[in-house]
């Protein structure tokens, strides 16, 4: 029968094991499979590291280090710090207001604050450049108003600058923090907050000393995601002419044709991010908080009226306006005359292809994430657990570099197979995987697994181990427990993971451009090609379509999260508990 080994389980490092018994794979098989999948996903990143480490230090490094690289590194750090602070403030403040308070528009902002996720950062950057640059309508209007003639007559913040890039990225990425902070606030037991109030905390203290530390791990995960996006971004910094590590990387790799040098810079970036992740995890282990009670009560919303209410509305409106409403409005205006094109068959085909690609990639990522997380929960060997962790670094690698990391092993595999077939059977089969949708999907898996993995993992961690044990005692095997207990319980996390990956795949550009099959266009590549041809008005339509396609799942997910608010009271969970 099922054998249970009690131990510390689920929270922090795992030492205890829950033997799966005969119903699932043995621990060794499970470890092997986990290791295999994780290594497969980690392969492209490893390929980049391999190119970097075997390349030797070329003359280009020295040249770069003596000239521009220190400045690039500094810019990357500045950008990361600014965006980190920005997304923390915007994401946490909005989440706290919306979750715990009632003010005009609160219900609307609950989901509306997720919408900036659907808007590609490079599109937002483009819209703001058009609006705020010297030749744009804002400065032009000011000049007309005050009679200024040249740029020397007045001062105006330059949008194509580090500050401008930080602003655009903050407005595009803060929903990650908002999403995770909100989920964390919702799941906090109200008791903790109430107890703190009876112990004499003010409302602000209750937030600062109880709610924030409890939600901190989730908030940090959000900030980390934003930082990875920031450091691997090329589109925004390229448009704004802000020289970062990514700029240096592209110069070395693609202009100087020095693959090793480029890979080395990518590796520096990766080590930087791994360091951040490690610091964050260490911090979390040292300050572990657990919610002891299982009796969740939906937190009542405090009513904010008068000035406070207006202030809260305004505070939530601002990031929503900057990150979604304004860019969307401008895109609608730009594409206005061409909206009829949206009805064309070609355009419909484009939408279907993008949505299907995003959907398939999202399901793939979530399936792999559930597999990795659950097998780790059941207990796997240490190398397998480590590999599962390493599998999530693809997010920190710039898309174009990752594409090359995918090309190298795929190309090697294909050439080997082709060589074998030619040698043995005398027929050339060509390349089986390179340049197919499979390569593209694999790249998405590698790049976006982190999003799914982090979300699913945090969801599964909150399911108490006693539930596993109860299910096992009642005769469910490991698979049965997953199907009947875990998956229904973490439904919200699963949906969130699917949404995040879907929306990101819709927006992804550099890897898609390089890896795609012949004559294969998505909404993102079409928008890009049109913009490259300076047909901005036409590029607005597919850009808008990307945002619109993201809207639906965003609404869906937001509803699911709000429903989770009533978690404790639902009859289904009563039965399960």
């Amino acid at each position: 029968m099922v054998k249970l080994t009690p131990g510390r389980f689920g929270a922090g490092r795992k030492t205890g094991r829950l033997d799966a018994g005969p119903s699932l794979f043995s621990e060794r098989a499970r470890s092997g499979l986990t290791l295999l999948v994780a290594l497969l996903v980690a392969f492209p990143v490893a390929a980049v590291a391999w190119i970097a480490l075997t390349g030797g230090i070329g003359a280009n490094w020295q040249h770069l280090w003596e000239t521009v690289l220190p400045g690039y590194v500094l810019n990357s750090i500045k950008l990361a710090v600014l965006v980190g602070i920005g997304v923390f403030l915007a994401g946490t403040a909005c989440a706290w207001l919306v979750t715990m308070h009632d003010f005009p528009g609160a219900r609307f902002f609950e989901w509306a604050l997720l919408l900036p996720l659907a808007m590609p950062a490079y599109v937002v950057a483009f819209v703001y450049t058009d609006l705020l640059e010297y030749a744009g309508p804002v400065q032009g209007g000011l000049r007309d108003l005050f009679g200024w003639q040249t740029p020397r007559d007045y001062w105006f913040p330059e949008i194509r600058s580090l500050g401008g890039a930080a602003f655009v990225m903050t407005m595009s990425f803060f929903p990650y923090v908002y999403l995770l902070a909100r989920t964390a606030f919702l799941e906090q037991s109200l008791c903790a907050l109430e107890v703190s109030r009876t112990l004499g905390c003010t409302k602000w203290d209750a937030f600062r000393r109880v709610a924030l530390p409890l939600a901190w791990p989730s908030i940090m995960v959000g900030i980390m995601l934003c930082l990875m996006e920031t450091l691997s971004d090329f589109g925004v910094v390229d448009l704004f002419s802000v020289q970062t590590l990514t700029t240096g990387l592209f110069n070395v790799w693609l202009v100087m044709g020095d693959a090793a040098g480029g890979a080395q810079i990518a590796l520096v970036l990766l080590v930087f991010i791994a360091g951040l992740v490690w610091l964050e995890r260490r911090g979390r282990i040292r300050r572990a908080y657990y919610v002891q009670t299982s009796r969740m009560r939906a937190p009542p919303r405090r009513k904010l009226s008068g000035w406070l209410g207006t202030g809260a509305s305004l505070l939530c409106f601002l990031p929503f306006f900057c990150g979604f409403l304004l860019p969307a409005a401008i895109l609608v205006r730009l594409s206005g005359a061409r909206l009829s094109d949206a009805l064309s068959l070609d355009f419909a085909a484009l939408v279907v292809r993008s949505v299907t690609l995003g959907g398939v990639a999202a399901l793939l990522c979530v399936a792999v994430a559930v597999g990795l997380t659950y097998s780790t929960r059941l207990g796997v060997s240490r190398p397998a657990a480590l590999a599962a962790r390493a599998a999530s670094f693809g997010y920190a690698v710039p898309g174009a570099v990752l594409a090359i990391g995918v090309l190298v092993p795929f190309g090697f595999f294909d050439r080997t197979v082709n060589g074998f077939m030619e040698g043995v059977f005398g027929v050339s089969v060509g390349l089986i995987l390179s340049g197919t949708v499979a390569a593209l999907l694999f790249a998405y898996l590698v790049r976006f697994l982190t999003l799914a993995h982090g979300t699913v993992e945090s969801g599964l961690k909150r399911v108490r181990p006693s539930l596993d044990m109860a299910a096992r005692t009642l005769g469910r095997g490991a698979t049965g427990t997953l199907r009947d207990v875990h998956l229904p319980l973490i439904r919200g996390s699963l949906l969130t993971a699917i949404l995040l990956v879907f929306v990101d795949v819709m927006k992804e550009l550099p890897a898609t451009l390089v890896l795609r099959p012949f004559n294969f266009d998505t909404l993102a590549t079409t928008a890009y090609s049109l913009a490259a041809d300076e047909r901005f008005a036409e590029a607005a339509l597919p850009s808008l379509a990307i945002a619109m396609a993201g809207l639906l799942p965003v609404l869906f997910i937001s509803r699911a999260i709000t429903k989770a608010r009533d978690f404790g009271a639902s009859p289904e969970t009563e039965v399960l508990m």
């Binding site: 190309g411 340049g435 499979a438 294969f520 039965v575």
Partner: protein, 357 residues
């Protein structure tokens, strides 16, 4: 009981959803893979750094004439890396670029196959192709100076070196120095004046910049129109494209073209071109496409719709291009410029050109 039934229903719904999604995904994948691997005769597969909307009319004309279908992957960067990973077994038959250095990179990586036919050598003069036909230039464009029609009297600037003159302080706009077009110009300056003098020149131009290098060539002309700067550096064909655009026409009309160094070595020209790849499955079709692109019909499309200078002698320039007048072009060996590409980037980095003045 109720909960049990509910969960049962939910499970069934989930199963239907999952199976449905899986079926859709499988169908989608199969369809995509099949459409890719359907490598019948009468196709040619192209990797292109040139924009799809420029190439499509040319490809359509080719297909109409020969019945051969053209498949394309377009990207701004990274296609050479894809080629390297795929090797000669890869599907690509031809590589198109917007500048020569990247064509030479393909050659140096060993992927450029020699192609020499009577049609090609009759259409394209010797200085625009590699000796054995490993790459062929298809169009040329000059990198010139745009000057404000109101604020820069004719004749005030005559050379590239003049851009470093102090009188232009705070008056010049340019796109980032590490863009291939600017690297090409810098490489040409190195070929002409040597490294030291070119570095001095870059420093001087940087000191004269009105703003940090940013945007593309058109954005510089827009900045002249808006009064942000008086001189800008750009490729000739953008002028034609702006004149043809109702919204951008006014930008172009605010500026005129100066062909520099007309008393000296001539204006810097670069070429866009193509190469047929080693191990091409559809070599015959690829050669046919290359010949077509060098022929009258294609050269005229290039000239009329993209305002470039055709490489084939005798093909008429577009009226817009004619209005800028004849000019003397730099005759330095294009391969030399491609070789100096890395040096150029190093100089640009050394003076930290992109930081602006």
């Amino acid at each position: 009981m109720t909960a049990d039934m509910k969960s049962h229903r939910r499970k069934r719904r989930l199963a239907v959803l999952l199976i449905g999604t899986a079926a859709m995904a499988a169908g989608f994948l199969l369809g995509e893979i099949r459409s890719v691997s359907a490598e019948e005769a009468g196709q040619v597969d192209v990797y292109s750094y040139r924009q799809p909307y420029l190439m499509e009319p040319l490809f359509e004309a080719f297909t109409e004439e020969t019945g051969i279908k053209v498949n394309m992957v377009y990207a701004k960067a990274g296609l050479l890396e894809r080629l390297k990973a795929e090797g000669e077994a890869g599907p690509a038959d031809m590589f198109l670029t917007a500048d020569l250095p990247r064509l030479v990179e393909v050659q140096e990586a060993g992927f450029a196959a020699p192609v020499m036919t009577d049609t090609l050598s009759a259409n394209i003069p010797a200085q625009y192709h590699e000796e054995e036909g490993r790459w062929w230039g298809l169009t040329q464009r000059a990198r010139v100076v745009y000057a404000s029609a109101d604020r820069v009297p004719k004749g005030e600037l005559t050379s590239y070196l003049g851009l470093a003159d102090e009188k232009w302080k705070g008056r010049i706009c340019i796109r980032p120095g590490d863009h291939p077009y600017n690297l090409g110009l810098t490489a040409a300056m190195i070929a002409r004046h040597g490294e030291e003098r070119t570095k001095e020149w870059l420093r001087g131009v940087k000191a004269n910049l009105a703003r940090k290098p940013q945007g593309n060539d058109r954005a510089q002309v827009k900045a002249i129109y808006e009064g942000q700067c008086d001189l800008a550096i750009g490729n000739t064909y953008y002028m034609g494209k702006m004149l043809a655009d109702p919204e951008q026409r006014k930008w172009a009309e605010a500026a005129y073209i100066i062909f520099p160094d007309q008393d000296g070595a001539g204006a810097h020209v670069n070429i866009s071109g193509a190469t047929v790849l080693e191990g091409a499955d559809n070599r015959e079709e690829a050669v046919a496409l290359l010949e077509f692109l060098s022929g009258d019909k294609a050269q005229e499309i290039y000239a009329q719709s993209n305002y470039e200078y055709p490489v084939k002698p005798g093909v008429p320039w577009s009226d817009t291009v004619k209005s800028w007048g004849e000019f003397k072009a730099d005759t330095v060996d294009l391969a030399v410029i491609a070789d100096l590409h890395d040096e150029a980037l190093k100089l640009v980095n050394e003076v930290d050109f992109n930081a602006g003045s």
